[in-house]
């Protein structure tokens, strides 16, 4: 037994520093999270329009087409909680910031990092917790969320490999202004399917809704406090997906808008969910715009929200 324990300890001593080295190496290899944080912290004063939100905004809005000094800080799978924390952290210190664009989608009142296992089945939740803790210093309760080796599903092995072979193109997830375009050619054959996974009858659902609404209101409140115009949008959805949406979900969406307006009366809301100008090639899936769709959508957004910008 003694021999076994000694050998196990030797193996552990060999492996542990390697794991720590991988974690530290990942810290210095650029990724979308670290890039966007660094950009906002170093060039925050230059930003006039800050785009928050998740993949719907990240894929759908091209900062260069929207206007001067726009930065797309949205990242795939971001929960309103993280948007609230980021807004409270960065909006007050960005001196020239005029607008914050945030997106609201169908059933997002249930997008909550705490209840993801019970209400909304989200397979990547541990990845998001990890990435925000590691690269944005936004901790989640628990001691092992920091480790990508334990939590992340974002192909850290490939990131390290690409870093060492100098494949910078593969490491670059977004462009310099934070935009992440998704080619319509890469969409899957079942792109029209909508996954409706919300369990609104779950005992956690009510608490989840209230807490998430609270985060949305925090975004609104910080914009109001800093005299920054908050623009909430709902990006276009594929027309076929709308038939799956319930009146309950749509009514709750409007409730979220109304609640946010109470904290930020100047807030503007633009709903493009049922916009008929968008066709098949404009989408990569039922709820996300493709590169073609983003090029079509951004000028529309600009014309509606910032006619004089």
């Amino acid at each position: 037994m003694k021999k076994f324990l000694i050998k196990a300890a030797i193996l552990g001593v060999c492996i542990f520093p390697i794991c720590v080295s991988i974690e530290l190496l990942l810290l210095i290899i650029p990724n979308e999270y670290s890039y966007k944080r660094q950009y906002v912290e170093t060039k925050g004063d230059e930003i006039k329009v800050l785009i928050l939100g998740n993949s719907h905004n990240e894929d759908g809005i091209i900062p260069a087409l929207l206007g001067d000094s726009t930065f797309n800080m949205a990242i795939e799978g971001r929960y309103p909680y993280y948007d609230a924390v980021l807004a409270e952290r960065y909006v007050p210190i960005m001196k020239n910031l005029k607008y914050v664009i945030w997106n609201l989608g169908y059933n997002w009142q249930y997008l909550n990092y705490k209840y993801s296992d019970s209400v909304l089945k989200h397979t990547k939740i541990s990845t998001y917790r990890c990435m925000y803790e590691k690269y944005f210093d936004i901790p989640y309760p628990g001691f092992h969320n920091w480790s990508e080796l334990i939590n992340s599903k974002f192909n850290y092995g490939e990131r390290i490999l690409n870093y060492f072979i100098g494949n910078e193109a593969a490491l670059q997830v977004c462009d310099s202004l934070g935009e992440h375009l998704y080619s319509y050619k890469n969409k899957l054959p079942n792109w029209k399917n909508v996954k409706e996974e919300i369990d609104v009858d779950n005992s956690d659902a009510k608490r989840c809704f209230e807490e998430t609404l609270g985060y949305m209101c925090r975004i609104a409140a910080v914009c109001e406090r800093c005299h920054v115009r908050l623009i909430v949008i709902t990006t276009p959805y594929y027309k076929g997906s709308l038939q799956n949406f319930s009146s309950r979900g749509l009514a709750e969406m409007q409730m979220c808008v109304d609640a946010m307006k109470e904290f930020c009366p100047t807030m503007q809301y633009y709903n493009y969910m049922m916009d008929s100008r968008f066709t098949d090639d404009d989408f990569v899936d039922a709820t996300h715009l493709s590169d073609i769709g983003a090029k079509k959508f951004t000028p529309i957004l600009k014309e509606d929200c910032f006619p004089d910008f």
Partner: protein, 478 residues
């Protein structure tokens, strides 16, 4: 709790140290195994611990009652039948109620009658088929006088709930596992070290092979109508390796973990994709289940030592039951029937035990005939896995049709997974006469300890760096 989770990484060393250093007396050690196993299982859903406890208590009691009824065969038959019906009843309710309810409702709907009340959503307890079959083997073996009934409740509870194999096997026979819990265990260095190596290889197969294949497999099967034949074939190929990596990986981790505790579990996989015919495939795939069906269903029915029609019947029975064991869906039954059709000619011609040795024994590569036989058997297995993976029989047929009839070239998914599969196949081919692929010692460069350690560290790093998205083991649902 998943084997490839952070929780298990903490759980295993703690249980290992307490097991060998704190709970040294046999009874205390067994009780500790039960407690640890219940924590392991309860991590998923503690409510279903009651089911395991019920199965255990009933099977334990049936053993004692069988012993007390010695000489009264009729009474013994009643006792064993009652316990079998109870266990199969629990399995039936939790695993098959929805299936029968839905099919019954569909049947009545044909005659214009609505029978909605028969469909209720029942949550399937993880691994229920595995521990139920293990409990059944005890009752049947005691009834057949192959095993004496145990009076040691702690050993029996440990036998049913032993955490490494509780949720996905190998399905142990009471004759093998129960005696190991009834006698004192001593730490065996060689066994423990080999167990660690087997765990490592199991983790590689699960995390690198199965989890990477799963991403492409899900994409392709979920929208197979939009893909060309080549992509569909790749999807089927990847699922073939996903299910192998997933299940044999689990078995390797289970067997390796058990060896750390001084327990030997039976082998569950023996490089099945290097088989030369379907009969050999079934001697190498999910061995614990195949032999269970052989011992408790096939042979009691007469096996192959009876008339031709009975052999046909027995073959179909065993494969259909095997298919149905996997899940409450017609696709699993069709998968069983498909394999029965492939197996039948071999058994009728008396060629089902033609290949019992290792392919290309003593040679680096197989000859052309062996290669063709392996490829043919493998492709037949691939077709079977399409039926197994599909959601309906119609979908399986459509998938197969499109795979052959729609040669359109569409983007091929899963190139990275295919590369990993190729690496695994190379390693497994080179170690095909060993219990598992990480048994390196002995020949060539592997005589040197530094080389062996180098290989272990490379495999560990590879597993850490290139593991796919963590997911449940496929066989948990069975």
């Amino acid at each position: 709790m998943l084997f490839n989770s952070f929780e298990f990484l903490i759980f295993l060393p703690i249980v290992f140290l307490l097991y060998w250093f704190v709970f040294k007396p046999l009874r205390a050690q067994n009780l500790f195994v039960v407690a640890a196993s219940y924590v392991f299982y309860g991590w998923w859903d503690w409510r279903f611990l009651l089911l395991i406890a019920l199965t255990t208590v009933c099977s334990f009691a049936s053993g004692i009652l069988l012993e007390r009824s010695e000489g009264k065969r009729g009474r013994q038959k009643f006792i064993s039948a009652s316990n079998i019906i109870l266990n199969l009843g629990i399995l039936g309710v939790f695993k098959y109620y929805n299936f029968f309810g839905e099919n019954l409702a569909a049947l009545f709907r044909l005659f214009g009658m609505e029978l909605d009340w028969v469909t209720v959503d029942i949550l399937l307890p993880v691994g229920i088929s595995f521990y139920t079959f293990q409990a059944l083997s005890y009752t049947i073996d005691v009834y057949r006088h192959k095993l004496q009934a145990t009076h040691d409740a702690s050993a029996f509870f440990a036998f049913i709930s032993f955490f490494p194999q509780l949720v996905a096997g190998p399905i142990e026979r009471a004759t093998n596992l129960l005696p190991q819990f009834s006698r004192p265990r001593t730490f065996d260095y060689d066994k423990a070290v080999d167990g660690c190596r087997q765990i490592l290889w199991g983790l590689f197969k699960k995390m690198v092979i199965a989890d990477n294949c799963a991403v492409a497999v899900n994409q392709i099967f979920d929208s197979y109508q939009g893909f060309g034949g080549v992509t569909l074939f790749v999807g089927a190929l990847l699922f073939t390796f996903q299910i192998y990596g997933d299940f044999s990986g689990y078995s390797d981790i289970a067997i390796g973990t058990a060896r750390l505790f001084g327990i030997d579990l039976m082998r569950n996989f023996n490089y099945p994709y290097f088989s030369r015919d379907i009969a050999e495939f079934w001697r190498r795939w999910h061995i614990s289940l195949t032999t269970w069906f052989r011992d408790y269903i096939y042979i009691p029915l007469g096996g192959s030592r009876c008339g031709k029609w009975k052999v046909v019947r027995n073959t179909f029975v065993i494969f259909l039951v095997s298919g149905f064991w996997h899940g409450a869906n017609w696709t699993f039954i069709a998968w069983g029937a498909y394999h029965a059709l492939l197996f039948l000619p071999l058994i009728l011609l008396g060629r089902n035990r033609k290949y019992t040795d290792t392919v290309a024994q003593g040679r680096l590569l197989p000859n052309a005939k062996e290669f063709a036989q392996m490829l043919g058997t493998f492709l037949l297995a691939v077709v079977g896995w399409i039926i197994f993976r599909a959601e309906t029989i119609g979908q399986a047929g459509d998938y197969l049709y499109r795979m052959i009839a729609v040669p359109a070239i569409t983007p091929v998914h899963g190139k990275k997974a295919l590369l990993f599969v190729f690496i695994m196949l190379l390693i497994e081919w080179s170690r095909r006469n060993r219990q598992h692929a990480m048994q390196l010692s002995g020949t060539g460069l592997f005589r040197y300890r530094a080389v062996r350690w180098g290989v272990y560290i490379i495999v560990i790093l590879f597993t850490l760096m290139f593991s796919g998205k963590q997911s449940d083991f496929i066989y948990f649902q069975f």
